[in-house]
Symmetry: D2
Subunit: 449 residues, 4 copies
């Protein structure tokens, strides 16, 4: 039985991830993400209302039209975490396949919400929960297993397909963090077991594989220390105080709330996507918001909350969206004087985030910081750690899994190439057992690990 | 008689240049520029209609309110070239002083036009022409001399104030280019003579003073070679062709026209500011447009010209504004499908410009290039040389003028500091004979070179 | 009574720090450091045997010849910590002044050792201990106080001179670390009290004042987490294992030993300077070495220890000098096959250090890493946090001390300028209350805070 | 008949280039270069005396041992230009093959000299001249053609193998320079003809394929303008004057001599490799040295010349080796006081070269510049243009040749990847018709263009 890995999206960019694995006549799809960056090219792009084919043409979602020529039956669509570059196109593409959607509960809840907001397509695929540490039979020949790992969103897993030809591992995205509060450490023991059983192929996130200066990606424990050191004084001062972070980063939001809860400030979690991710996480028992915290998503509710906070600025901590400076997000709107909350001299603004490295973010962020400073705010930046595995984590992963073949993904060609050099240090060789695929290409393995 | 240099603007930023020199009771003002970058902070800024004090508060124009406390009479407002960061605030500030405006003809024509477009103030200062190589008496004690130099706009001069206490030189901006077509080389001989007579103080442009990798700023002759090598093939091909450059850079536009004129393409100089600078330069006999060239500035005329060019794309060369990717300028509008000209596969777009290093330009430019490429255009970037003196030019200048005191200007503190290190290599010392001023500060010299 | 700050060294470079403060007729000297980087210029420089004047000419030590013209009596030579760029020239310069040397016990012990090794001069200045939190009378008008702070060497203090004209604070170097194990947090309470009493002038370390991406310098607690995460696996493996760090960074060495002590490996602290700093720290009760640790400094002892470690590579952890790749230090010699210990495939080498940014270090370090890798070693880099205050720490410091005047030090002009921009955000102004001095210049204050 | 391209060296680094092309049973080898950078790893490497296998193990020369398994007969060893990373291993490897060495006269002369200096092996391969524009029959099925191109050494050609399966082009290295004095422009017409006849595969230099800021690599005409502008004044001054450049860059040396010949200074071309390349070029009638020029290579002759120049420093122009700061080359030895020529204040040193980007060069060069400056010299850097094709040149080349397959070479994986992205913009696709090979890998084509 031959095994084929089909690169659909995310092999030429950081975004719109989608891969398919064909084992004999069965196909498993991993991820259906969007590439937000492409929207800037065509300003009139309205994702919710546009047809898949138009979005494909504009490069916003993966081009899965090649799947028509794949001679096999799709048995499952698997999502390993809930970030938009992995699930954002589900409502545009999933209905084309008669197959269940499988994910952990939090990821599934986010997918469900995306499907509900879709205006163009009706998506009726069955939704099936699979937890970390569990397996499910996908076809007579294939068993899917979710192995617990860590990332910057809860309930992230690494997927393993058990087949007669060996195991195929899909690890996209992950970091190795031994000190998260909401998630246990990655299941290294299981990774080693898979390695001993025989991993035929590893499809792997290369985003941070070759960053300089961070051998091993810093743990969230470090983010907690940084946050605590930096938030302590502002919490006790009389001035306004804002923390901005990734809405989906529930682990971080939990840390922020816990630190703030030691103070007398009430916590306001504000912004549409903040509401989406936090409410869902709270409902599922992942996020434990203190009593002093409230979540507001609708513009009206946000505005009312901001008006209160403006009047009693020393009584509230605002936790907002907008850390990339996106003009329509909350913090940039606050900085630009478009809300009821006025930034005043001495207010503290903490960016618990990095700048996603792309010229538009850098420009937006620069403008945001200059506006905040010109209003007299004090800014703390980069109170943050990354969610992607660094080079030595990647090396550890290879040594645990010992895969026969490697397919680097989730990056530009330069990033895949940099990962390749790391894997070559571990004894692999490009063109032999490392395979760089471009979107639309496939790699066939003849199995027999 | 004491001499005082008053830093009004441009000593903390690249923009809004303005300086005053007080000799006894007489004051000479140099430049009244704007700082366009600050407009982004307050999106609702409408320069033409806003009052000086509002623009001062927003950091858009120099804060000359300190001049009220200067005990002296302003005898002249001198402009050494016509770039906006040197003349752009003239209509907001000049009327406050009872003094003539003195500049070379081209600079003066641009000033006149700025004054005419002003909606808030009436500016009635007399306009007085002074050519390079000429002098005029400004007060019984002061003679102003214009020494010819080179830059990226025609008729740039270095100003010298002859006083009983020595000469004060204002060299902001300049480059040393021996091979321009429209301007003779800088008058090195006169610089050396001034040096021998005794220069008390030099106020000097530091923009490129410490760039790496370009000891001596490249000549326009090099830009001509680059342009010729790059334009040759596109001119002969059947595809569309666009060159974009600084509208005020008449030397460059002349070079582009000359090269294009060897081909059969008609030249269309397009865009509002392209029209402003080129027409003026043509009228004054500086720019010699070939018969095959037309200039269009009004949106209607531009659109008509673009429609023609779109139909016969191999018959025209478009020379446009928009090289920084500014959303409202012509090339970005073309790339964004907002004009009658559609970019098609194989079209050639030549950027005869650099990216002015600021995050917003970098983002706009990146978006512009990606749009052009996604339409299939081929892009040539950086077919350009700088207009600011490099480190070895600056060193030559110091050795020619041998000033007693140096006041670096036209830059952030880091740029002034970098220039300072260069001047210290030449035997000067910060705090002794190099003086870093901040906007609003003054330096008094007791003369006696 | 006038106060004068005299910049002797360290105001144009990171190195050879030396400052003098003159209050009335009394002078207090701070620091006498060396600038190791200058030695490369003259390869034949032999510090121990050379005369001060030669070393001054070569730029290796501060040029204190200007002190001859200072009309006052030196009352004390004060050292606030024991790094070489602060104490390294003591044996060359101190004997010229009839004044006691004052420092904390650890700093004093290091100074004593430097004096003993000197081959050219005899230094007989009395050595006087002053602990953090203590004061001593230096002259009828001046009291010296040591305020506890943190840095990357134990017993670092910030010095405060109490005078009738106000307090002069010398804070060079420091970081704000609330989580060191060997040192209590900085005495913020005392800083605030000094601020309230009235600080006339602050002389301040600017090294990291304007780093990007690290608002507040990371704590040693973060270094401990990083080290623990990274050392854990190698400690349990069968391969060789080396950690390299700054010999003077006792806090870090303590952390390394504590982590290693959980394993079965014996700890070998190796290298001449490793022996110097660790033995001293152990003798003074600062460093608490576990029983499993031994320290070897002499080449013979080091070699014997390496021979044993080579045979039983899984039984030892080597802690060595040489993290900058300096050709004569231990780790580079090991990597180059010049010792009894052979690096083998699978050995782990952990750099608990950063590369001091200078082209020679970068080249040496690159060569070292390539050699280690070509022997098959696995390398972990940058398991480290900085010892210098980041921008938000500096801002906090200014708000606590509220000094009337600021003199940035410990940096190139670009670094001083960058600090200046930060201080200007806090309401200071260059030329008014921020004073950039060059080596050899002085700033007079007329007191009266 | 199948065609196979075998990557032997230079596919993972900039250095030790070597490729083989197998057509049916015939093999053609291109280049046998060295990788100087690897010598630093093992300090005791003595190239002239060491055996090939040792040098292969140390990574200094290409590992051609795999050729034993190639089932075919080597018919020719072809060199397309004379740089060391292309010819430097000829004396170590060529004797293993019973085949003639084919090159242009200048390249052949350099090869001959390398063979003569070899201490370990005797190389008896016949040497065969082939000029640009000429062809020769290599086997019944293969014709080799040399097409003239440009680079930074004279008589560089692009090789074309005419076979029944199509043409294989080896273009490694080249730039497109239309304005060299010693070489005609590249033979674009012939490239287009080859394209029309059918190029099966292109092996191509990627060194500068993706530099930013230089769309099209600058011409030597630009270097001439820069040199002239910068040399003019120093030539007329009374001070010492040194120009340093690549010894093999005869075009540049010719330009320097021509400019210097306008002055009264005598020209001294100094240094062992300066002598080697210049004498050869002069003997072959390529370099036309003015009468005022002398060439000295032996230490003794160089020293005598330097002694004269030291005494009459305004009478000589020194043209030396050592621009990378290599400690044993002439200029660094001069700067370090190890020769009879003392650098004095006001002397001018012009670097007509770039820094080859590698940490050791950067450190050496930094040290060299600091030493020169501390002696008072004035330095001009980067009076230089590159010898490798920029991105738009590469794009032009692809459009001319229109190859069916592309094999990027002469670079690290990141460089090959960057070139690949450029080629993908031109419609190629990695894994389909772009093939990234690693040293030791081969790519088979089934021909039939």
């Amino acid at each position: 039985m031959s095994v084929e890995v089909i690169a659909i999206g995310g092999y030429e960019e950081v975004g719109k991830n989608m891969s398919a694995v064909k084992i004999g006549d069965d196909v498993v799809i991993f991820d259906m993400g969007i590439h937000l960056d492409r929207i800037h090219i065509h300003e009139d792009t309205d994702i919710a209302r546009m047809h898949s084919l138009d979005l494909i043409e504009r490069g916003v979602i993966p081009d899965d039209t090649l799947m028509k020529e794949v001679d096999g039956k799709v048995r499952a669509i698997v999502f390993t975490h809930g970030h938009l570059d992995h699930i954002g196109a589900v409502a545009k593409l999933a209905h084309r396949y008669e197959a269940p959607i499988i994910a952990t509960p939090y990821t599934l809840a986010l997918i469900e919400r995306t499907i509900k907001q879709e205006k163009k397509f009706t998506v009726n695929n069955p939704l099936q929960v699979l937890n970390a540490g569990e397996k499910c039979q996908i076809s007579p020949d294939i068993t899917l297993e979710f192995v617990g790992t860590t990332h910057s969103i809860p309930q992230t897993v690494t997927a393993a397909l058990h087949t007669s030809e060996g195991i195929i591992v899909y690890a996209n995205d992950f970091k190795f963090d031994n000190h998260q509060v909401l998630s246990p450490p990655p299941d290294y023991k299981r990774f080693r077991e898979l390695g001993r059983k025989g991993v035929l192929a590893l499809i792997v996130d290369t985003t941070n594989a070759c960053v300089k200066n961070e051998s091993k990606t810093h743990s969230e424990k470090i983010a907690r220390i940084l946050l605590k050191d930096v938030m302590e004084k502002p919490l006790r001062q009389k001035q306004g105080m804002i923390v901005t972070t990734f809405s989906s980063h529930i682990e971080r939001i939990q840390a922020i709330c816990k630190i703030a809860n030691q103070s007398k400030r009430k916590i306001l979690l504000l912004g549409r996507s903040m509401e989406r991710f936090c409410s869902m996480a709270e409902k599922l028992g992942i996020l434990d918001l203190p009593k002093s915290a409230s979540v507001y998503g609708s513009p009206k509710a946000v505005n009312r909350a901001l008006a209160r906070a403006d009047e009693h600025r020393d009584k509230y901590l605002l936790v907002t969206t907008g850390h990339q400076g996106e003009p329509d997000a909350l913090l940039p709107r606050i900085a630009n004087g478009k809300t009821q909350f006025t930034v005043k001299p001495g207010d503290n603004v903490i960016f618990s985030s990095s700048v996603i490295p792309n010229p538009m973010n850098m420009a937006n962020r620069n403008l945001l910081e200059r506006r905040l400073k010109s209003s007299g705010a004090r800014i703390y930046t980069n109170i943050h750690v990354s969610g992607h595995a660094g080079p030595e984590d990647q090396r550890d992963f290879l040594r645990m899994l010992n895969p026969t073949h490697i397919i680097p993904s989730h990056g530009t060609l330069e990033m895949l190439a940099a990962y390749t050099e790391l894997a070559e240090e571990e004894g692999y060789k490009l063109g032999k057992d490392i395979h760089i695929l471009r979107n639309g290409q496939a790699q066939v393995f003849n199995g027999g690990v």
